[in-house]
Symmetry: C2
Subunit: 320 residues, 2 copies
């Protein structure tokens, strides 16, 4: 008997942006009991609901929405899917404490390295912390309105908690999490090594997120120019090198796959570009600074990635 067999799990969405909105709505549509925590968009969503315009699933709306402006009003949740920016992770712990059922599973649907660490130290040990890596092209186009352009897969891995040393239980928890998404029609795989999975995701995020801001260019423009293609390939090769220095082997063919996948992809503006345009802080610590620090600690340098990080730091500071 696994942890989730007792009852229909109640799911809380912490941060209902593009990611939280998409997955929360898909889970609600599949019949799960989903509760959404919002900030600035609470009035719009509580009145007009959530709207998803998906190139894959069509137009889907959810109204009424179990929407909350305040975590204290939410019922205890078995699963908490966190869709907030990594830049806010230190502030998450009090929110999670208010919404967590006993034995809660918290899934950070976020990019970057070690995003769980700063949150973990403020959580009770009983809470299971998982990482979720979303391979999806999605963005908000208005309050409560999510545009889904392509893909959707979520890969899950166990980070820490009371099952850390119990491999069978740990595996059951992650499989239960993947099961939720699968029941909602979303591809989801179990990652035996979350850290390595996060490095894999960086192979895409490091070049495309940063260059979209630096060059003001979407994926189609970046893939159409010889020089940006060379930059992307060189950055991907550095991430593979950095992962290796940190003990995670990534096949060179994986970088090639990400490159050709993006070439086939619909034109896409990565999330960092939207953050820049809306003058929100960029997720530079999670995607650049922490991987670079880990690589440096392993005695390796990634000069192109470091230069990109420095350029983005300059742009980010000036932007706010």
């Amino acid at each position: 008997m696994t942890d989730t067999a007792h009852h229909t799990p109640r799911i809380g969405i912490i941060g209902t942006g593009a990611i939280g909105g998409f997955y929360g709505l898909m889970l609600a549509r599949a019949g799960f009991d989903v509760h959404f925590l919002l900030r600035s968009e609470y009035p719009a969503v509580s009145q007009r609901g959530l709207q998803l315009n998906s190139a894959v699933h069509g137009a889907i709306s959810l109204n009424p929405v179990q929407a909350y402006a305040c975590a204290a009003d939410m019922p205890p949740c078995d699963w908490l899917l966190v869709g907030t920016k990594t830049t806010d992770n230190v502030e998450l712990a009090p929110t999670i404490a208010q919404v967590a059922a006993p034995d809660t599973k918290v899934v950070l649907l976020q990019n970057g390295l070690d995003v769980e660490d700063r949150l973990r130290e403020h959580l009770p040990e009983s809470v299971h912390l998982l990482g979720g890596l979303c391979y999806i092209c999605v963005h908000r186009s208005g309050p409560g309105i999510v545009e889904h352009q392509a893909l959707g897969r979520v890969n899950l891995g166990y980070h820490s908690g009371s099952a850390a040393n119990d491999e069978v239980r740990r595996q059951a928890i992650v499989e239960a999490g993947a099961g939720l998404f699968q029941q909602a029609g979303i591809d989801s795989q179990v990652m035996p090594n979350l850290h390595q999975a996060r490095w894999h995701k960086l192979v895409w995020n490091v070049p495309y997120n940063g260059l979209s801001v630096l060059l003001g260019a979407s994926t189609t423009a970046l893939m159409a120019d010889e020089s940006s293609r060379e930059m992307i390939q060189a950055l991907m090769a550095e991430v593979v090198l950095g992962a290796k220095a940190c003990g995670h082997e990534i096949a060179a063919s994986y970088a090639e796959q990400m490159f050709s996948m993006t070439e086939q992809l619909t034109d896409y503006w990565p999330s960092m570009y939207h953050d820049h345009v809306h003058k929100r802080p960029l997720e530079l610590a999670a995607i650049y600074a922490r991987p670079l620090a880990a690589v440096r600690a392993a005695g390796c340098e990634l000069p192109r990635m470091q230069a990109l990080y420095q350029a983005l730091s300059f742009i980010d500071r000036r932007n706010r």
Copy 2:
């Protein structure tokens, strides 16, 4: 007896932009017989003359100006100072042939590496070709109007011509060139090795020209931010490394000097930024591509400079 002792030298300015306008006007003011070749600004300059607003020398105007729209109308000149963009160097040879006196000295007042090479092969061997490295903060603010913010030094070196194998004569020619500038109140030094001098100049041009375009930032902004300072220092270190790989020793203290000099300098937008804003081609071949190719041929990689070059290539292509 040196080459220039026969008569008061006649000086032709090929390309009367900020650089050509500044030095030509200063030389005319010092009593030299200066003739200016212009393109789009010919009507304005022939009617209203040249105007220099200099933070060092005050406001200076020259009117009437010996201005020409066509090289064929110019008298033969002993010295030709070329202030056009390096991107046009292949087209210079026919112009020079029309204006050159016997034993003409052509001085390319341009940045970058090997800018003389593509011109050289189209010039008669009798023509002396020199390179001039301008340490100056100057820009155009309107047709025939030049703003001079700081500095002014021109360092000269012999590139090629009929004195190539005659060190005494070569030295006399370069000293005569430096003498022209000195008589006009401009600091000018003789460079025994033009190639090495061009590498020295790249220590400044590679970081500041490129980053001004990439980050949309002037020297003051670039020197005020921790991340851009690190980028500048890392790029300077790469240029020093590249010069060394190509056989030119540059002291690390030289890069430090350039860095602190810029810190003291008045706020300045490098020429590449102006080119970008006016949608003119960027001088990427001279300042980035050729040095990178020379370094690569020497078995060395400069990853930050290469990434900067690739980013600028993308930006340049999109800009036009």
